[in-house]
Symmetry: D2
Subunit: 312 residues, 4 copies
């Protein structure tokens, strides 16, 4: 079938390619003219046949609304807009209602798979009405992996992004699990080859997984990850997952602590730890580290003999 | 090759079967005569040819030492004892030294794979000397899955159990990750079929894994797990992993909180939460729940009007 | 000075009494006629002298907006409304702007102190403009404790509630700290009298605090808290604190885990733990507990011998 | 009364002074001759009258055993050795048994109070036999604060150090609570003066405490703690507390996460976060930070267009 595709970054660009190889006619638009098939959204829509026109939006969260607003001016009754980005699920139902005023149908679609999706297929979690899903099903069928898995119509508007959000929350905690284990093995020194140990777990073990395979890939490139900084971004879904958990009074210690570890990794000096150091110094005269000093320099409290090692 | 195998429970029994199918001669001993091939350890050892005699011990942690002590009296120079149980790694080096006094060689072998190992093969993490590993390699090769993964000679005595311990620590946190996500999806109600969503993730998604496959198996048997109590045991390795992390000053928030969630699941009434309730009542006159009362019954502090909902 | 006071529950009622003892003329209104000084808000406002009219609102979060809306119809240029409840700080700035359209000035005031405030004074954290704060200062001075502490003009609109929110977040984690320590001492059995130990810490120790004093009060009434259920409510500020931390990428493991412990205390059966149990059963044939069974009943996986104690 | 005191560091030195001011005769020994009253332990013991001889040991954990062994050679039937350091409670019962062979009595005494103890008194938690405690009671009475609190005979050998260990575990979590709140207030910017807000909480609030007073002291010296590094040591008791909790299956999320935050504060580059970054890069082509680069430098995966901001 024909489809417009807005946003041809790493995800959108690969999806265009996978869909074309499956025989679909994809008209892609990106603000980067080197990636774009057309000059603007108007030109893109003009090149898609009606009955109905389907446009997939694959752009960063912050520009989803302006893009969809512009598309809403170009599309009409029975047409379909799919937001395939990592958008916040709470916006989906209001957005669907607003588009419905013009007769435009809306789907939210969580997409997983990263740079591997182009060959392996993408896991798709879709929210919206059954009849709308049916209109886009050929696209979903080509994007998803071959076989019985990788696609779910998760529920009404918002359910797709909600499912994707939870997926990513789980992902944060699983990554943290492997990362903690890896750090522990590296720190202990009992295990001669941590990389070989991770590698051995890829079959037969209870923790075999695709993320483990990827971890081994990374270790094969850089055995002790010396070339990487201990610095991890987060991209929203983890935070939203914890927020949803707060709303629903669901305990999520693994997911939230995985997120906090990333926050901490981005702090050069953790302010909370300054406060801990300050209080220790106040009650115990414990040595503190001067902000300007290197890691070796510690300074006793003024007028004190060298710090007693115990915290009393 | 020939090998004695002590302990024919769920793990040991399956391993005997897998090894026999691979052509090895396995003499199994278990305290349960219905499972055992021989009457006692002496009879077992008598049926294994020398050059060298190899015995695999697959028994609960608390009986490893007496079993090995008895075996040490039956074996000699160049013979090999393998402890394949979930034993604590700190005991391996002393045990190896003690056996070495009699010329007996020792390997510690962490074994993963559960009830699926019989068909899929077991992941093996081995600690000990290279020459000893070589003596048992035909057994390892038959126990491990086909293909390039599933076996590692992780290092010296203790490295096998250390690697297995960390493996299980990781496992605890990964299971917690899926469990938190599942509870959240079930609680939210936005996703019509949580089971179908989990199922869809089995291909294409970043979090596809064998544990996810197993989770879906469980949901296929009991969609909302209504037949299960929210009660999870732990079996030692998780605790040992956290202890190792404490020794090494490695932060393990995901693993430790996964463990604490299991501890809490086994408490009918969390004592800490009684203290929280007590303090809230003391400062705010907040309603508390009587220990004997059902979930609906709350009681205001004596002499107080009904509790203000806010915590001031 | 004169002031209207809306909401005469545990907090508001005590504040009225403390203010009257300090010589202020307080006209209180409550929906409960037995507590109320007047029939309705109109009557309340009619009894306060102008120049300016000041009304303090001390009602649950969910009814703050309707109460303030009604008051806005009764007050005018230069009058002051104070929201002293545990309201969400994000609503303060918009509320202030809306009231400013009618010339009504607004303050948000976090109030701590619980049932002890009537005698010891309340800790007050105020947000809003300096000139407005000055109009209400005589009230603040009478509500706060004697001495130099207990009052802060924390910043502009919202800063008072924000400070109170963080105060409560800290409170959650401190309570959890004592609660964990108490549970540990009770569980260990090494310490003959846990109550006496807590009591001893009230002077000389690093962890002496008012919350510790309250904990001892509670233990004096019920040494092992046998009469209390292990069930702890939360009232919003803890969740908002974690949400603010997520927005600001601040790691808050102690506060968030304290909150999760309360969530978990209110679950009869933790769904996440059902999933953990289900997965353990799937890979290891581990015994699971039947939902209907008592704590002693465990059931092996079908067709399995009794579960091996180790998690493999 | 008379007493020998071994170890005249920050704690021991202050205790000597407080005890002398109370009229006791204290013979102090330290390896530092500038602090020591005598040349060696023999000289110290020689200067204490019999009936019985009492020696208080106040040295780092690692030298407790050699010091006590030497003392055991100098003391005899009915004499008393007190270990007042932050020693591990598990060693107390064996140590007491060993000393009992020579008729020497033993007490373990947890001491809290830090540098303030000299004037405010120390909180003391004592383990051992009632009759032994009675022999030292005059010393305890002088060390503890005036008033009814600050001393507990917590139980048998080990109970004193166990109680002190839990005290310090609680302390870690309380400090973390204030630290998280402080970081949050500083990060938010809604509260004009975080220091003034902390200061205001010192009376009237639920979270007033001595640690809060100390935090304000520190902020008065350095309002934003700019002069301190975000680097916090830990001194053993926190780890032992978590280990005890693991043994007893008590969930301690606040204490353990407080400890992990300190561990993390001491890592220049968190290895676990390198692994997180590595996995993100593998599945998503997410930008990673080069270990050598400054905070601004991020590098896209090779051959990729700039990273899509979302984690898919």
């Amino acid at each position: 079938m024909q489809m417009g595709l807005v946003g041809l970054g790493k995800m959108g660009g690969n999806m265009r390619e996978r869909l074309r190889e499956a025989g679909h006619t994809i008209i892609g638009y990106d603000t980067n003219p080197e990636l774009s098939d057309v000059e603007d959204l108007t030109a893109m829509v003009a090149r898609i046949d009606r009955e109905p026109q389907v446009v997939w939006v694959m752009v960063p969260d912050r520009v989803v609304d302006p893009v969809i607003e512009e598309l809403a001016g170009l599309l009409g009754e029975g047409d379909v807009i799919i937001d395939g980005g990592n958008s916040r699920w709470v916006h989906d139902a209001p957005r669907a209602r607003k588009l419905a005023e013009k007769g435009i149908e809306y789907l939210d679609c969580g997409v997983s798979g990263g740079v591997w999706g182009i060959t392996q297929g993408y896991a798709l979690m879709v929210g919206g009405e059954e009849t709308t899903v049916a209109k886009v099903q050929p696209i979903f069928d080509s994007l998803k992996p071959a076989g019985e898995f990788g696609f779910v119509h998760a529920g009404d508007h918002g359910a797709g992004h909600f499912a994707k959000m939870v997926h990513n929350g789980i992902e944060y905690a699983i990554m943290q699990a492997y990362a903690e284990g890896w750090e522990l093995l590296e720190a202990a020194g009992h295990v001669t080859s941590v990389r070989e140990t991770f590698n051995s777990w890829r079959e037969g073990s209870v923790i075999k997984s695709w993320l483990l395979d990827l971890a081994v890939n990374a270790l094969n490139e850089d055995e002790h990850l010396d070339r990487l900084a201990g610095y991890a971004e987060d991209s929203g879904e983890g935070r939203w997952t914890v927020e949803a958990a707060l709303d629903l009074a669901v305990p999520v210690p693994a997911i939230s602590n995985a997120l906090f570890a990333r926050f901490a990794s981005r702090q050069d000096e953790a302010p909370a730890m300054k406060m801990i150091a300050a209080m220790r110094n106040q009650f115990g005269g414990h040595a503190v580290k001067d902000a300007a000093a290197g890691p070796e320099h510690v300074e006793a409290a003024p007028g004190e003999e060298p710090a007693h090692p115990a915290e009393q």
